[in-house]
């Protein structure tokens, strides 16, 4: 199923509406929300005719910023070849984003963000294709996230991220991820650098 342009735009719009900070804001750079997660591709697009995505892993760091928060993250996901005609490859998405958060009731926190990043694909082939074994591509998207705080510092979360990779044949995918998050005060040197 191709994730349509209209749905992609809708999700991006929802994410952008959340950008102005609507939750009580921590001081800029005062805290870090570090999360680790497992990730799955939940859509089936044209390229999945040749490749089967497997479970991946993601790491994300978020810090309060003017108007919401800034985030940076990376997601690693292997894709296995379904046929011998193509090589397997690993996809590493590194992104940065800007978003906002909302706390409707304790201990729930909702957030959304716009993201831009690079998707690097490393192909497991013996002979380089035209001299290179990897490709990098611009990827744009948005994400919505539900967090439940278990204690002052620890929580769990689930996230849905819609992404468009701007290859010649654009690849629209939705990835779902879930995992643990840790909220810590930013060390002084980190605040100093980020400020």
């Amino acid at each position: 199923m191709r994730f349509g342009t209209a749905r992609f735009a809708l999700l991006a719009l929802v994410a952008s509406m959340a950008v102005p900070g609507v939750a009580a804001q921590d001081a800029a750079w005062s805290t870090l929300r570090i999360s680790v997660a497992g990730a799955e591709s939940v859509t089936r697009v044209g390229m999945h005719t040749w490749w089967r995505p497997t479970t991946g892993a993601a790491l994300r760091v978020e810090a309060p910023f003017e108007g919401g928060f800034l985030e940076a993250g990376a997601r690693f996901m292997p894709l296995g070849a379904r046929t011998d005609a193509v090589p397997s490859y690993t996809a590493l998405l590194a992104w940065a984003g800007w978003g906002g958060a909302w706390r409707p009731v304790r201990p729930v926190r909702l957030s959304a963000a716009l993201r831009a990043g690079m998707l690097r694909m490393d192909f497991a082939e013996d002979i380089a294709f035209a001299g290179v074994r990897s490709e990098s591509e611009l990827t744009l998207g948005g994400a919505a996230r539900l967090e439940i705080v278990l204690s002052g510092r620890l929580g769990v979360f689930a996230e849905a991220a819609a992404e468009r990779t701007l290859t010649a044949i654009e690849i629209d995918q939705v990835h779902a991820s879930a995992g643990l998050l840790l909220r810590v005060g930013a060390p002084r040197w980190v605040r100093e650098v980020l400020r």
Partner: protein
């Protein structure tokens, strides 16, 4: 500003160009400035980026990297009537024997200020581009930037499937680095610059790939280290610099419209300085030696490309300055060695010269300058007149409200051996780079003998200054050219089985014409946290029946607009937008399809770039994301040239310093 203070200000930025030959725009007339903050926020990392920010027309580019300059519409295409000055030292670029523009000895990302001056000086009728590199702070310091551009439109994983599409460009990593030690009057700086562009334009790739041995792709690789030692005090300034640059290039042979994979190596050593003697006297010296080798990287034996060009410029000047007068007497010489066919032709030409520069300011608001130079060489038997002369004139009329009206005029006469016109070198035995069988001796057409290249320049600018800091400038300008030498392009795209273009080398002598234009510029704060500059330029060439001039002049868009805006929506976070638009342009020398004939036409085009930057750790770090060609429309500046598309550049800039004894 008195003449003396203007001269001293000019001297502080120059240890090479005699103050009396500085451009007229010592004040703020005819000048566009780009500061270091704008450069950093834009993500500029190449010389081409700096000129684009300054509103200097980036001309055409066949390979997406090399470009011709046309600052503020002040030059007609291919008439290099402007001068590029880097840290006070003139840098000839753009000519057949000059270095690649990106090989000038500076790190573009660390530039302190760029000034585009459209007023004439006695050394450049079309104006001047001045680039000042930022001085390092006291103590030990490092500064640098690195960025990489990711492209769109690659096949991605589909390249292994039946849905495969051609690959897209890869840009970068682009980086520049400077390590420096500064103590008292001494300063030692080491820099390194690297750059990569991997091009995949289907229109370009077949032409280039044909010339490679193996399956190389079109690409440009730049590596350029330099080392400089400075000594400065209140009364003297001295500098020695060594610079090396290597560029694996797709060297543009404009006359044939083809790219030749080549390796350019450029060595340069220069020493320049000034020493004040008493209150009014001073001496200046400058030595500049450089050599450029161009080697083809191709298996095609029909490519005649090897060239070695060495030059030595020396100038010693004695000057006297007073409140209203400055006079300088320079003795110098030029030594040129051209070795286009090793073992066959090794030509060395010496041109000693003497020059007199005089500038005076009879009343405030006026400034005049004249210069007379004669070459003592008798190498060229075809010429008799050996006197180069130039003059400039400026008048400023300031109204009580702060608005100003400035007039500037100038003319310059260049001797062929000084201007180094290709035709003069052809007479010395030089053969232009060529491809294919049609490489017989280049033909010269037009006048039966070489002429002095004469350029006249005139312009007027009316600047209105409004409350709040906004300025409105109305500029009208005209250039008249006589006696120039131009390549005559006669190029036809070959049949489909021969992707390389077929061209012919001819040079026309005695080309003349005129270019007239007008410009409107609005600049100033748009709000408390925003600034912008809008330029709208209109130009009209007048060929006066000279077809060669007309064929070159109409390649310039008649209408150009550019808008540069910068804002800080939140503290220490900035957004910079560059937008430009150009009208369509004709390229009569390029016929895309011999069966249908007609000119190649570049359609009108719009380009937008957006850069978002965040300062970190005070001002020591800056992280950045920049969208180039954000409209994702193929952006081409030459009918057969590289096409650029949307790309995201991510980068970081750093400036770190350490002063011994301070925490």
């Amino acid at each position: 500003m008195t003449l003396r203070s203007a001269l001293l200000a000019a001297l502080s930025a120059s240890a090479f160009v005699p103050a009396a030959a500085q451009p007229l725009a010592a004040a703020d007339a005819f000048v566009v400035r780009v500061d270091s903050a704008t450069i950093a926020r834009s993500g500029a990392s190449r010389v081409a980026d700096l000129l684009r920010l300054a509103g200097a027309h980036a001309g055409h580019s066949l390979d997406g990297f090399r470009l011709s300059f046309d600052p503020a519409g002040s030059s007609s295409p291919l008439f290099p009537t402007w001068q590029l000055v880097v840290d006070g030292v003139p840098m000839p670029v753009g000519g057949p024997f000059d270095r690649h523009p990106e090989l000038i000895p500076t790190v573009p990302g660390l530039v302190r200020e760029v000034r585009v001056i459209t007023a004439p000086s006695t050394r450049s009728a079309g104006g001047r581009i001045e680039i000042d590199t930022a001085r390092p702070p006291e103590g030990l310091s490092i500064a640098g930037h690195v960025s990489a551009g990711n492209e769109v439109g690659d096949p991605g994983p589909y390249r292994y499937t039946p849905l495969a599409t051609p690959n897209a460009d890869r840009i970068g990593p682009v980086f520049g680095f400077r390590g420096a030690v500064r103590a008292d009057a001494w300063r030692v700086e080491g820099t390194y610059r690297g750059d990569e562009i991997h091009m995949t334009d289907p229109a370009l790739e077949p032409r280039v790939r044909l010339l490679y041995r193996g399956t190389y792709r079109p690409r440009l690789l730049l590596a350029a280290p330099s080392l400089a030692v400075h000594r400065e005090s209140a009364r003297s300034r001295h500098r020695f610099q060594f610079h090396f640059g290597a560029l694996r290039d797709l060297r543009l042979v404009a006359e044939t419209g083809s790219e030749v994979p080549s390796l350019s190596r450029h060595w340069a050593a220069s020493a320049a300085g000034r020493q004040a003697i008493g209150r009014r006297w001073g001496v200046e010296y400058a030595l500049d030696a450089r050599q450029q080798d161009i080697l083809p990287r191709t298996a095609d034996q029909s490519v005649a490309f090897d060239q070695v060009f060495a030059r030595l410029d020396a100038e010693f000047a004695l000057r006297r300055e007073s409140r209203r007068f400055a006079i300088g007497l320079s003795l110098g010489g030029r030594l040129r060695r051209l070795d286009p066919m090793p073992g066959v032709l090794d030509r060395t030409v010496a041109v000693p010269s003497a020059r007199l520069d005089v500038a005076w300011q009879p009343t405030p608001g006026w400034r005049h300058a004249v210069a007379v130079e004669t070459a003592l060489s008798n190498e060229d038997p075809l010429r008799r007149n050996r006197l180069r002369h130039s003059a400039t004139w400026l008048q400023r009329i300031a109204s009580p409200g702060g608005s100003t009206f400035d007039l500037a005029a100038g003319w310059i006469v260049e001797m062929p051996e000084v201007a180094e016109q290709p035709a003069w070198w052809i007479l010395q035995g030089w053969r232009p780079p060529s491809i294919g069988a049609d490489d017989e001796s280049p033909r010269l057409t037009g006048a039966p003998y070489l002429l002095d290249a004469r350029t006249g320049s005139g312009q007027a600018e009316w600047t209105l200054r409004f409350r709040g800091g906004t300025t409105l400038a109305l500029l009208g300008f005209g250039r008249v050219y006589r006696g120039h030498t131009l390549p005559q392009i006669d190029l036809v795209a070959g049949p489909s089985l021969a992707p390389r273009l077929d061209g012919r080398e001819r040079f026309a002598i005695g080309v003349g014409g005129a270019l007239y234009g007008a410009r409107i510029r609005v600049a100033g704060p748009a709000s408390a946290v925003a600034w912008h500059r809008l330029d709208l330029t209109w130009t009209r060439p007048v060929a006066e029946g000279d077809e060669v001039y007309w064929r070159h002049a109409v390649t310039r868009p008649a209408v150009e607009a550019s808008w540069l805006a910068s804002t800080q929506p939140v503290p220490r976070t900035s957004i910079l937008v560059e937008a430009s638009a150009r009208s369509s342009a004709s390229w009569p020398g390029f016929v895309p399809d011999p069966t249908t004939g007609g000119y190649a036409v570049l359609p009108s085009r719009v380009d937008v770039s957006i850069a978002v930057s965040k300062n970190l750790w005070g001002d020591r770090l800056l992280v950045q994301a920049a969208f180039r060609h954000a409209l994702d429309r193929p952006f081409r500046t030459h009918p057969f040239g590289q096409s650029d598309r949307l790309a995201l550049h991510l980068g970081i800039r750093a400036q770190l310093g350490y002063v011994p004894g301070e925490s």
